[in-house]
């Protein structure tokens, strides 16, 4: 039952709820109406009974023997006996002896003979018919044996409730019929109302349906929406914003990557075609093949870097080293760069204080360390010019460590600084290409740093000139 409820369409659910509510309301209304009618009829009936009983009472008189009797008894009895459902009369003394009684009342119940203080109404059955009677106390003024000249009697008058019951039944049937008809009408009406009421939602769904890959710039309009749907539209629009931005980034990256692939490809193609067109001999053939192989290797490297970028994006980098292992790796990489630095009259200095706890696990590995540190040192040596000083400094904190690579070269302009970590950005486009750079280094390094829970930032150096990059590494938890 639960399972089905969830799958039920919203409009059906609403219609059902409205229908049930209407059902309850109409049923309650019908019931109260019936009860009310019943009460009214009863009041009317009872007052009729009392009137008759009082009429009878007025005909009571004492005869010469001091007995109380009913005047015109025969006529009265005859009158009240008329019809298929005769009224039942009985006049009883204070001690329960019957003074007078209608012929049909052959077996009066004992409680009808009991004296009462005030009018008492009772429903009972006589001769397979339903009756309702009243026991009315009355004092006949006499000079009889009772005190102060009064004779207490109880007048019992009952009428068949058949007519009243029949009318009530008709009323009940009418109410039931009316309620049923109203419910029958209200069912589809509720359905229609629920359906129409949900039109804004349907319109919203239609509008959202129009937003696809090629139309990601579209947004849901809040204007025609009712107030409680506006937050929904807003939330959807926010999601679309993010998706569009992601698509845009993807598109730009793919386009930039494809662009980069063109250069080695055109080299390959032109190499082959030039060889095809010009005179061939074994020596130049071999040279052409060597050059082609170089181009293919270059393409391979490009693919590697692009793949590494995607992996870094997807956050696939996950690894752990101890602090000491990391420091050792740093020292190795720095040493590898010393010859290059020396050949450019530059100095390279590593300041790596030991970790507070050498076995602290850090979220880093050989690949990440090599890539990032080599990238930073390579950039410094390549763009800093000759005769610069490069310092590599490690600092330890509570839950992280930083590696700062700072040089005192010419530094970068504000313009370049804003684009530093962009993919395929090269400060001096042509020169980097000639020396093999692709402009992906810093972008990849930062991607790697972040996928490991750290970060790579550019800072204004402590001295006025130069560049300062800070790589933050997180400790493993």
């Amino acid at each position: 039952m639960n399972f089905r409820w969830k799958r039920l369409r919203l409009s059906a659910r609403l219609a059902l709820m409205v229908f049930l509510a209407e059902l309850l309301l109409l049923a309650a209304f019908g019931l109260t109406t019936y009860i009310f009618c019943h009460r009214q009829f009863l009041i009317s009936f009872d007052s009729g009974l009392v009137a008759n009983a009082e009429a009878l009472a007025s005909l009571l008189e004492e005869d010469d023997n001091g007995q109380v009797g009913l005047e015109f008894s025969d006529e009265i009895m005859t009158r009240f006996s008329k019809g298929r459902r005769p009224d039942l009369l009985m006049i009883v003394n204070g001690d329960g002896t019957i003074i007078d009684i209608s012929r049909e009342f052959d077996d009066p119940p004992d409680w009808a003979r009991e004296p009462v203080e005030e009018a008492v109404f009772r429903n009972f059955s006589h001769d397979k018919r339903d009756y309702r009677g009243v026991s009315l106390p009355f004092e006949v003024k006499t000079e009889g044996p009772d005190a102060a000249g009064k004779h207490h009697v109880t007048i019992f008058f009952a009428s068949a409730t058949h007519d009243m019951d029949e009318r009530l039944e008709q009323i009940a049937r009418f109410l039931a019929g009316a309620v049923g008809l109203l419910l029958l009408i209200s069912g589809p009406v509720a359905g229609l109302v629920a359906y129409r009421g949900l039109t804004p939602l349907r319109r919203l769904a239609l509008e959202a349906g129009r937003i696809g890959e090629r139309s990601l710039h579209l947004r849901l309009t809040s204007d025609p929406l009712p107030a409680d749907l506006v937050p929904l539209a807003g939330a959807v629009n926010t999601v679309l914003e993010r998706i569009e931005a992601a698509f845009e980034r993807e598109r730009r990256f793919s386009s930039a990557a494809a662009h980069e692939l063109r250069t080695p490809l055109s080299l390959l193609k032109s190499g082959v075609q030039a060889a095809q067109l010009s005179a061939r001999d074994p020596v130049s053939d071999r040279k052409v093949l060597e050059e082609l192989l170089e181009d293919i290797t270059r393409l391979e490297n490009l693919c590697e870097v692009l793949l590494a970028l995607t992996a870094a994006d997807a956050g696939e980098a996950e690894s752990a080293w101890t602090a000491q292992e990391w420091l050792d790796c740093l020292a190795r990489v720095v040493n590898e760069f010393r010859p290059v630095a020396t050949s450019q009259n530059s100095t390279l200095e590593l300041a790596a204080p030991p970790a507070p706890a050498p076995s602290t696990p850090m979220r880093v590995d050989e690949t990440a360390t090599r890539r990032i540190l080599a990238n930073l040192l390579d950039n410094a040596l390549r763009h800093g010019g000759k005769g610069i000083h490069i310092s590599v400094a490690v600092e330890w904190f509570n839950v992280s460590a930083t590696l700062a690579v700072e040089d005192d070269g010419p530094g970068v302009t504000d313009e370049i600084e804003s684009h530093l970590f962009e993919r395929f950005f090269r400060a001096d486009k042509a020169r980097s290409r000639a020396t093999g750079g692709l402009g992906l280094g810093l972008s990849l390094s930062r991607g790697l740093a972040r996928s490991l829970g750290g970060d790579l930032r550019f800072q204004r150096p402590t001295t006025q000139r130069g560049c300062r990059f800070v790589w933050q590494i997180a400790f493993a938890s």
Binding site: R262, L265, L267, A274
Partner: protein, 228 residues
């Protein structure tokens, strides 16, 4: 015809030179830098310049603009990886005559070069005709009066150049500057030598003289006999 290729990717530049020089019509000079390329284009009479956009020194569009502002009218073809519609339009608007994206097909490059040079000399047809001399620039076949002539590369280049400049007087210097690349030592005797070789192949006593000499000025190709 002498072509300048300004491309900083050394290997690619060499491949282009090799490809273009596989045709007898052309010799190619290379430059790998914007400033250097601009200087070469300003000081040497190239028949066509192939220009890359991403250059060290001065970038391609700047070089292009400066050449046009200096009154250089040779056809310029931009060869580059930047091929969005906006970039193509910009390159053409800056004064280039054609725009080819990388990677490119060598055959297409050669055809475009020939088309640009053809148009720059006011010709529409790839077949040059002077009198009964026919030069098909597509197949490099030369024939006179239906008789096919077989010419070595340099003679063909010379004849083709004269044919493009048919009717105009071309000095020996001009010929040297358009038929040899930068690396050649230029001795004007060489031209005389080739002219006489050409005449030997082209002309018979019974046929009309095509290659005429104007003493002290140069040569010209024409079927009309000069007034004495």
């Amino acid at each position: 015809m002498r072509i300048l290729v300004v491309e900083d990717e050394v290997r690619l530049a060499r491949n282009i030179k090799k490809g273009i020089e596989s045709l007898p019509s052309f010799v190619v000079d290379l430059s790998h830098d914007g400033e250097d390329g601009q200087h070469m284009a300003m000081t040497n009479p190239y028949d066509l310049v192939i220009l890359d956009l991403m250059l060290p020194g001065a970038d391609g569009l700047t070089v292009l603009r400066r050449l046009r502002e200096a009154g250089k009218t040779m056809p310029i073809l931009i060869l580059t990886a930047r091929t969005s519609k906006e970039e193509v339009a910009r390159g053409l608007d800056f004064g280039s005559d054609d725009y080819l994206g990388k990677p490119f097909d060598m055959g297409e490059l050669l055809a475009r070069i020939k088309a640009l040079i053809r148009r720059s000399h006011g010709r529409a047809s790839p077949v040059l005709r002077v009198g009964d001399l026919e030069i098909d620039t597509r197949t490099h076949r030369v024939s006179r009066g239906g008789r096919e002539l077989f010419l070595p590369a340099l003679e063909y280049r010379l004849l083709e150049y004269l044919a493009f400049r048919a009717g105009d007087v071309v000095s020996k210097t001009e010929l040297l500057e358009h038929l040899y690349d930068y690396n050649w030592e230029k001795f004007s005797n060489v031209i005389e030598h080739y002219i006489s070789d050409l005449r030997a192949k082209l002309e018979r006593p019974e046929t009309a003289k095509l290659i005429h000499t104007l003493r002290g000025q140069g040569y010209f190709l024409s079927e009309k006999q000069p007034d004495k």
